[in-house]
Symmetry: C2
Subunit: 335 residues, 2 copies
């Protein structure tokens, strides 16, 4: 992201420096006296992503600071904490989804088994809370934990709706708001709280992060449906084989004529059992031709506009501009 | 435990009341707006155990209070937190160990699959930290998280030593000190810290809890080897089929003549592959006849004596007496 967004040179340099501090905190916090633990942690670090969540903390922190630029150590710690929480989720998601490709590298569970992946994820969650409790304001840890409560609820709600072919938009949005958007919202809101901003700014930044997060998940779901494994960098077609209904599918099911709709559900059931590339392609073509993929893309674009509007509560600054660009980058999936 | 230890009637009544407050906090904290989550939580509550860890907090809190009896709300919260952490571990352990019997009920993963069990455990861990961050002293949450870091290290060290037939006593004790004893120590130490006790009392109570915890795990390991599933209330013989060396096995391997020792390791390898009752019984008989089971029992008894000695730092009180009895109860496995 940092390389593509048209960012002020000074901000770019500052973020590069701040991210490297976050990186140091990350490594330092996860270091163990046990060599066997450090080997596992080193493996996880290799599949780190584009660091959306720590960037949200850092850039929202800059944009909501008094001078539009200065960060505190608490911001760096929080940025590290949210990245650690997110990576723990990825490690546990690999168990959840029986994934065997994640960002081009082998997953922990395929290398070492489910049991190690569960415990390694737990180790990272535990360290995230440990680090978070070092921030000199207990409400931060309380809010982070409240957010992870909600993230887990989202994951459990999604699991409870596996192969629910009647899943509606309302429940779909409840799921992604909880499992993805809540943490993005908290990143931005707490960044403002650490700058002693009032409720109005905190709420606006929460809205920015949440809308961005929902859009991010919609795009992620579209890519799982239409994307290529090599481009996306992780297994695709998994939602279909797991019986997870996402926005394009829900659109088709609720708008296609009844007979087509019944045939469609039969295809979904078959794909959940067979995981057959030909059926996968057929479903993808159906949803593209019917305009359901475009419908979902447009919803994501609307949410990004709302996210960007929420930023107007802040004074103009290069950091605010960057938050605007980051939201845009979600749509073109530079994150 | 409460029914068998020869406890003062007033203390017994107080603990019954306190445990029911802890129970309420537990249920209240885990309540979700989502029905599907509450159904899962209700299932977990059904296989709650003897509540060793919350009892350690409560009784150590009473014994280290100014009047030897009065508890604060923070003690009740901490007691709830450690029970929640422990139960999350049990849920994740069921994934770890592919267990299909746990306290006489079906495990979450056998009912709902690994994915739900992982997320439900995460939900409980998250709520444990959320609740812990409500205590008006941030060092409590920091210490609890530090302890869970260590617990996870213990689990990972154990996994790394699966089918390590050369495992020695030193590493065995490192594993159980981390995965079991550290949390027991923290329960007692923090109970004293919440009473503003100084380092000496905190350290002594930490020693009490740690020694009790190591003894508890040794007994647990012996029961896995020699116990009956119906009496123990969970699957037995699992350590052998998982290639986990425990104290009686390590004793035999290091003390038996070389040729017997080699034959023994061959039996262990075979049992890790075949899980054959006849071989299991043969191993058990060998270890009993050689005195290795008794050796392990004696080590546990020594540790319990050390735990009881550590209590002398506290003034006499019915609660201190109860801590003494609780340690004794570990040996006869009333916990």
């Amino acid at each position: 992201m940092l390389l593509v967004a048209p960012v002020d040179q000074a901000v770019r340099q500052q973020l590069t420096d701040e991210l490297s501090r976050v990186e140091s905190l990350f490594v330092q916090e996860l270091h163990s006296p046990l060599a066997c633990v450090n080997r596992l942690v080193a493996h996880v670090e290799r599949y780190r992503g584009k660091r959306l969540r720590p960037l949200l903390v850092l850039v929202a922190g800059m944009a909501s600071s008094r001078d539009g630029a200065t960060l505190t150590q608490a911001h760096r710690i929080l940025a590290t904490v949210v990245e650690m929480v997110h990576m723990a989720t990825l490690v546990h998601d690999d168990i959840l989804d029986e994934a065997d490709v994640r960002r081009g590298g082998a997953t922990v569970n395929s290398l070492r088994g489910n049991e190690t992946a569960v415990m390694l994820g737990d180790y990272m969650i535990s360290h995230a809370y440990h680090l978070c409790s070092s921030i000199d304001d207990q409400t931060i840890a309380r809010t982070v934990a409240n957010t992870t409560n909600v993230v887990c609820e989202g994951e459990l709600l999604q699991l409870a709706n596996r192969e629910n072919w009647e899943l509606d938009e309302d429940v779909y949005f409840q799921i992604i708001d909880r499992k993805t958007a809540s943490l993005c919202g908290t990143c931005c809101k707490l960044a403002a709280q650490l700058n002693d901003q009032g409720d109005d700014v905190q709420q606006a930044l929460d809205q920015y992060g949440r809308n961005l997060g929902v859009a991010f998940q919609i795009i992620d779901d579209i890519l799982d449906l239409t994307g290529d494994e090599n481009t996306v960098g992780k297994s695709t077609g998994r939602d279909l084989t797991k019986g997870k209904l996402t926005l394009p599918l829900i659109h088709y099911r609720t708008h296609a004529p009844a007979t087509q709709c019944m045939a469609f559900i039969e295809m979904l059931k078959q794909q959940a059992n067979d995981n057959d590339d030909a059926i996968g392609n057929q479903i993808q073509k159906l949803l593209t031709d019917f305009g359901s993929v475009q419908f979902a893309s447009l919803r994501a674009a609307e949410l990004i506009m709302q996210a960007q509007q929420a930023l107007l509560v802040l004074p103009e600054s290069p950091a605010r501009k960057l938050l605007h660009e980051m939201a845009q980058a979600v749509l073109t999936r530079q994150f």
